[in-house]
């Protein structure tokens, strides 16, 4: 410590010093009317209507204020994590001893230089044909060797390994560890991709990083990384950030997965569950086939035995016997039919005969008269002579009588009818 007399250092009160610093800041043109790029954090908007937050990047942060009058004109929904460009003046809040940016405009970085750089590089690589669909290679259904390029300590690796263990533990996994953010990340990622292809020859490579701000993911927009992805021998599935993040590495990859876990799933479209059911199907088939082999032989055997039986002389004999039976049967039934017919005919004849019996009419009161002299039946009056003896036959007996006189006055019709009898 120096003696007090020799001490020429300036002395300030805190207020004096702070005020002086504030004036210094405000008098520096390079610190007024500036744009600052960073990610919003600790965003708050108390009832006063003023807005307080910080913007930060990987290694520093800056306090920001938006007065109520300006805050009401904000065009964007400012939330933590949003990468923005803030415009304003740098000054110092004396009571808090804090330098801060008094913001009058806030816009997403998409409208800013970083996004412009992203677009420029995208257009350049696109014009070289790095993103065309024809370049995309198919992802194998079953990869035996799966390469992973990511941070050895990140959540992305944990998620990938969990998914692979669950879906396809038969795989051999080769990790090429690399930082995934920071200035050294791009060259390290490109080198990891290169040596993985060179020394491990995987069937597929997963390039992954967990979610983060646009800046966190920036390494995956680096030209070296994008070119290394496009140059990879093995097909690459990228799983960088979240669903909504599209990096240039995603465009160059053969397949883009929304997350690291999804990348692991896309790398294993056939899972052990599928293998298990395939195996069960094979097992079923084997068992059925063994049974059916025996079954087919049994059937063939049965069929041959059947043919043998058909060809045997015993069978022939049986056939003859059956024919004999047939004939016999036909004979019998023919005879039976003939007999039936004959008896029916007989009965018919009998009836007809009965109707023709001349004596039947006697039961109805008629008589048959026979001449005694000539012995013939009298049917006409001219055959009858008075005084002649005739025999009269009734249904149940005969008597003899003599003709007293005759008249031939019967009308023709009646005599005709008698003729019919």
């Amino acid at each position: 410590m120096q003696p007090e007399l020799l001490d020429t250092s300036p002395r300030y009160t805190v207020t004096d010093l702070t005020r002086r610093l504030r004036r210094l800041l405000e008098a520096t043109p390079a610190l007024q009317d500036i744009w600052v790029l960073g990610e919003i954090s600790n965003f708050s908007r108390p009832s006063s209507g003023h807005v307080y937050f910080s913007i930060k990047d990987a290694s520093a942060q800056l306090r920001c204020v938006i007065w109520r009058s300006d805050a009401s004109r904000l065009k964007i929904a400012a939330v933590d994590g949003l990468l923005v460009e803030a415009h304003g003046n740098l000054s110092l809040y004396e009571a808090g001893g804090q330098y801060q940016l008094y913001v009058d405009q806030l816009r997403p970085v998409g409208e800013g230089a970083l996004y412009a750089e992203y677009l420029r590089l995208k257009a350049l690589l696109e014009s070289e044909g790095l993103f065309v669909p024809e370049r995309k290679r198919p992802i194998p259904e079953r990869s035996r060797r799966i390469g992973i390029v990511t941070s050895p300590t990140g959540a992305a690796l944990r998620d990938i390994l969990t998914a692979l263990q669950r879906r396809y533990p038969l795989a051999q996994v080769i990790l090429a560890p690399t930082p995934v953010q920071g200035v050294e990340a791009p060259s390290a990622i490109a080198a990891a991709l290169g040596s993985l292809n060179l020394y491990a020859a995987p069937d597929v490579i997963l390039l992954a990083r967990g979610g983060g701000s646009m800046e966190d993911l920036w390494a995956f927009n680096d030209e070296r990384v994008v070119r290394a992805v496009a140059a990879s021998t093995a097909p690459i599935i990228s799983g960088v950030g979240h669903e909504t993040d599209f990096t240039l590495a995603d465009f160059a990859a053969d397949l883009r997965a929304p997350t690291p876990t999804a990348a692991a799933e896309l790398a294993t479209s056939v899972t052990v569950m599928d293998l298990r059911s395939d195996l069960e199907a094979f097992e079923d088939w084997l068992t059925k086939n063994a049974l059916s082999t025996i079954q087919v032989r049994k059937e063939t055997l049965g069929w041959q035995a059947q043919r043998l039986r058909l060809a045997s002389p015993v069978r022939l004999l049986q056939g003859e016997r059956q024919r004999l039976d047939d004939l016999n049967h036909r004979l019998l039934s023919a005879r039976r039919q003939n007999l039936t017919l004959a008896s029916a005919q007989l009965a018919g004849l009998k009836n007809r005969l009965g109707a023709l019996n001349p004596l039947a009419v006697l039961r109805r009161g008629y008589a048959v008269i026979t001449s005694q002299a000539e012995g013939r039946i009298l049917t006409r009056i001219e055959q009858v002579h008075p005084g002649e003896v005739v025999h009269v036959r009734l249904q149940d007996g005969t008597f003899t009588s003599r003709v007293l006189e005759k008249e031939d006055e019967y009308d023709q019709e009646k005599s005709d009818r008698r003729d019919d009898l």
Partner: protein, 76 residues
């Protein structure tokens, strides 16, 4: 099937490839009864091997450092 590696030393892929071949050959069905019985028995053994591998397998993770592959131990 010229190479007859012991089934219990086969990887899943080796066992499965031979299993497919056996099934195809049984499907063609041009063996004697004896031969097909033998093939069937080997097929069953391969199925068992595959099933065992599916049950037991743990994901094998190694780490590429420079040109060298080492076992990878995840940090908890």
């Amino acid at each position: 099937m010229t190479k007859k590696k012991a089934i219990e030393e086969m990887t899943y892929e080796e066992a499965f490839v031979e299993l497919e071949a056996i099934v195809a050959s049984l499907e063609a069905g041009d063996q004697t009864l004896d031969e097909s019985t033998g093939l069937y028995a080997r097929g069953q053994a391969l199925v068992l091997r595959c099933a065992e591998l599916l049950e037991k397998t743990e994901l094998k993770v190694s780490q590429l450092t420079g040109e060298v592959l080492k076992d990878f131990e995840a940090e908890a």
